[in-house]
C-alpha cells in the first residue's frame, strides 16, 4: 500500500435522483453503522461531524459527511466514497485515522456502499469544518497509516452458504455494525487485538463489556432478549443502554428487525451456551431478583438503602423503574467504570422523548463515599471477586463533564410502555 494514495476526481458520479427504495436501504444501513452517532456533535447538525474521539495518541475529530462541496463530501464520487469507507483514504489521497472503523467497513459489499452513498448524498448539506486533530508527533504523520492498514485491514471471507441469517449476522456485526470497535481491547497501535476479540474495551470514558464467552451478564443473554435490547435500548432482565451504546440502540430502532435479530443471534453465539449453573442462577435471579442480595455492614449499604433501593427495588416496571441491581451488568462486569459514571452523573432525560431518568450523585457523594458504595454493591449484590483499586476511575469520571460523557441520551423508544419485552 502506498504512503499516499492518488487524489480522485471531484465530479460526483451520481447526480440524478436516487431510487426511493435505495435511499431507504441506505438509511437502514447507516443506522446499523451508526454513522450519525460519531458524525453528529451535541447540538450540531446531523452528519456535520466535529465529535471528539480520544485515542492514546491524541484527539481526533469526526469529519463532515454531509453532501456540502467545500467542507463535506459533496464533491466526492461514489468511487472516492467507497475508497474512504473500505480503505480509509480521503478523496485527496490522504490516509484517514482508524478512529473511523474502516478496518471493519472494508467488509461492506458494493451494493451496500452504493446505498449508503445514495443516503448520505441526499442529506441536508451543512457548511461546517470540524476542529483540527490534536495529535502528537509521529502520529500526526498520516503516511504511517499505510503500514497500519497493511497490518490490520480486514478482508471479506466467503459467507457460509448454509444459513443466510447467520451469514447476515456475521456480515453486519463484523463489518458495518463494527461492534468490535468498542467491545474489543486495543493494542498499543490502537488496533483491535484479534486474539482477544470482543473481550471488552474502553473508549471515551466508558467500558464496552465483553460480549463473548467472558460475558458476566447475570442472566445469560438469549437472542430474543438481545434483539429487543438492541432495538429498544432496554430489557427488563438487563437494564438500559447508556453512553455511546444508548446512541447505538437509538439508531437500531430504524434498522430492519430481521437484521437486528441476525446480529443478536450472532453475538449470542459469540457468548456461547451458558453453563447449566449460570442458566440456573439466571432463572433464579429472574424469578426473584433481590432474593440473593446480602445486607452486609458498611456505609455503602446505608447509601444503597436510601439513595438506590428506593427506585431499584424491582416494584416498578422497566424502563422507568430502576433495575434490581443484582441484575445489573454494571455491578457484575469486568470494570466498574460504567457503574461509577452512572452513580456520579445519572441518566439524563431524553431530548423530546420519554426515557428513564436517574439523578446523578456527583454533588451528594464524595470520592470516599463512591468507593464505599461501589465496593459494597459488588460484595453484597454479586458473587464476583472485588475489583482491583478503582479510585482512579472515580476521580476520572468525576472530572468529566456529564454532557460529554452521556451523549444525547437514548435508552427508551418513543413509547417504551408499548414495547413488550420477550
Amino acid at each position: 500500500m502506498a504512503a499516499c494514495a492518488p487524489s480522485l476526481d471531484s465530479a460526483p458520479s451520481l447526480r440524478q435522483p436516487f431510487d426511493h427504495g435505495l435511499l431507504e436501504r441506505g438509511a437502514q444501513l447507516a443506522a446499523i453503522g451508526d454513522c450519525y452517532g460519531c458524525h453528529t456533535a451535541r447540538d450540531g447538525a446531523p452528519f456535520a461531524g466535529g465529535v471528539a474521539m480520544h485515542s492514546p495518541f491524541g484527539t481526533i475529530y469526526s469529519s463532515n459527511i454531509t453532501p456540502e462541496t467545500q467542507t463535506g463530501i459533496g464533491a466526492w464520487s461514489e468511487r472516492a466514497f467507497a475508497r474512504a469507507l473500505r480503505e480509509g483514504v480521503r478523496r485527496d489521497g490522504a490516509h484517514l485515522y482508524p478512529a473511523f472503523p474502516y478496518d471493519r467497513f472494508s467488509l461492506t459489499s458494493d451494493d451496500d456502499v452504493h446505498a449508503l452513498y445514495a443516503y448520505l448524498m441526499t442529506r441536508t448539506p451543512v457548511h461546517a469544518t470540524p476542529p483540527s486533530n490534536e495529535l502528537a508527533f509521529p502520529f500526526n504523520m498520516r503516511w504511517g497509516l499505510a503500514l497500519w492498514k497493511a497490518m490490520y485491514l480486514r478482508t471479506p471471507t466467503p459467507a457460509a452458504r448454509n444459513d443466510a441469517s447467520a451469514a447476515r449476522g456475521s456480515y453486519l456485526v463484523e463489518g458495518l455494525g463494527h461492534c468490535g470497535s468498542c467491545h474489543s481491547p486495543r493494542n498499543a497501535l490502537f488496533a483491535e487485538e484479534r486474539d482477544r476479540a470482543y473481550q471488552g474495551g474502553d473508549l471515551d470514558g466508558w467500558h464496552a463489556y465483553a460480549i463473548e464467552r467472558h460475558t458476566k451478564a447475570p442472566i445469560p443473554w438469549d437472542a430474543d432478549a438481545l434483539a429487543f435490547y438492541l432495538r429498544n435500548g432496554w430489557h427488563p432482565g438487563h437494564g438500559v443502554a447508556r453512553g455511546s451504546m444508548g446512541l447505538v440502540t437509538e439508531q437500531l430502532r430504524d434498522a430492519p428487525e430481521a437484521d437486528v435479530r441476525a446480529m443478536a443471534a450472532y453475538v449470542v453465539n459469540l457468548m456461547g451456551a451458558p453453563t447449566p449453573q449460570r442458566s440456573a442462577q439466571g432463572r433464579e435471579l429472574g424469578a426473584a431478583p433481590l432474593a440473593s442480595a446480602r445486607n452486609g455492614p458498611g456505609r455503602g449499604g446505608e447509601i444503597y438503602r436510601t439513595a438506590c433501593l428506593e427506585c431499584h427495588d424491582g416494584t416498578r416496571p422497566m424502563p422507568f423503574g430502576g433495575l434490581p441491581l443484582t441484575l445489573s451488568l454494571g455491578l457484575h462486569g469486568e470494570s466498574p467504570r460504567n457503574l461509577i459514571n452512572v452513580i456520579l452523573h445519572g441518566l439524563g432525560p431524553g431530548e423530546g422523548q420519554t426515557s428513564p431518568v436517574m439523578p446523578g450523585y456527583a454533588g451528594a457523594l464524595d470520592e470516599d463515599q463512591v468507593v464505599d458504595l461501589v465496593t459494597w454493591l459488588r460484595a453484597n449484590l454479586t458473587d464476583e471477586t472485588a475489583w482491583p483499586d478503582f479510585r482512579k476511575l472515580v476521580r476520572e469520571s468525576a472530572a468529566m463533564d456529564a454532557s460529554q460523557l452521556m451523549f444525547p441520551p437514548g435508552g427508551a423508544g418513543t413509547d417504551p410502555l408499548a414495547a413488550k419485552a420477550p
Binding site: R299, G301, E302, I303, R305, T306, A307, E310, C311, P349, V357, M358, P359, Y361, A362, G363, A364, L365, Q369
Partner: protein, 149 residues
C-alpha cells in the same frame, strides 16, 4: 447520630444512619422549606445544598453528610428579610402553588454560587432536574436571571 453544619450552625441529630436528610430536616429539625415530592429524586422539591452542590435530600442518607455544610432555603433569608434570590422570586411572582419553589431556589442558589452571571442556556440546563406542575417555569427562569443581575 450525625453532626453537620446547618445554615451556619453546628447541629447533631439522633437518627438511623440511612434516614433521608429530608426527614431529618422536616421531622427532626422542623425546617419545612424542603418538600417531599416524589421521594425518588425525580422532581427536585426536596433540593438543598450540601457543600455548595444542589442535592436531592430525599435520597441522601444523613450519614453521608457527616461533617458537611448543609444549606436549606431557611439559610437564604427570612420572610421579613428575604435574600436576593428570594426577593427576585417575589418580584417575578414566580410561585403559583409554591410547592416546588424552595427546591427551585436551592438549585438556583447552587448555580449562582458557581456561576454568578449565567447565560439563559446555563440557567435552563442547571434548572432542568426540578419540575413545576403549575407551569411557572418562565417566571422561575426570569427570577433566576434577575437574581444574577
Amino acid at each position: 447520630m450525625a453532626a453537620f453544619e446547618l445554615n451556619g450552625r453546628n447541629v447533631t441529630v439522633d437518627a438511623e444512619p440511612d434516614t433521608p436528610l429530608l426527614y431529618v430536616l422536616r421531622d427532626g429539625l422542623k425546617l419545612n422549606a424542603a418538600k417531599y415530592g416524589c421521594g425518588l429524586g425525580q422532581c427536585g422539591a426536596c433540593t438543598v445544598m450540601v457543600n455548595g452542590e444542589a442535592v436531592f435530600s430525599c435520597l441522601t442518607p444523613v450519614s453521608m453528610i457527616e461533617g458537611k455544610r448543609v444549606t436549606t432555603l431557611e439559610g437564604l433569608g427570612t420572610a421579613l428579610a428575604p435574600g436576593k434570590l428570594q426577593q427576585a422570586f417575589i418580584d417575578e411572582q414566580a410561585a403559583q402553588c409554591g410547592y416546588c419553589i424552595p427546591g427551585m431556589m436551592m438549585r438556583a442558589a447552587a448555580l449562582l454560587a458557581k456561576t454568578p452571571h449565567p447565560t439563559d442556556a446555563q440557567i435552563r440546563e442547571a434548572m432542568q432536574p426540578n419540575l413545576c406542575r403549575c407551569g411557572t417555569h418562565m417566571r422561575i427562569l426570569r427570577a433566576v436571571k434577575r437574581a444574577s443581575e
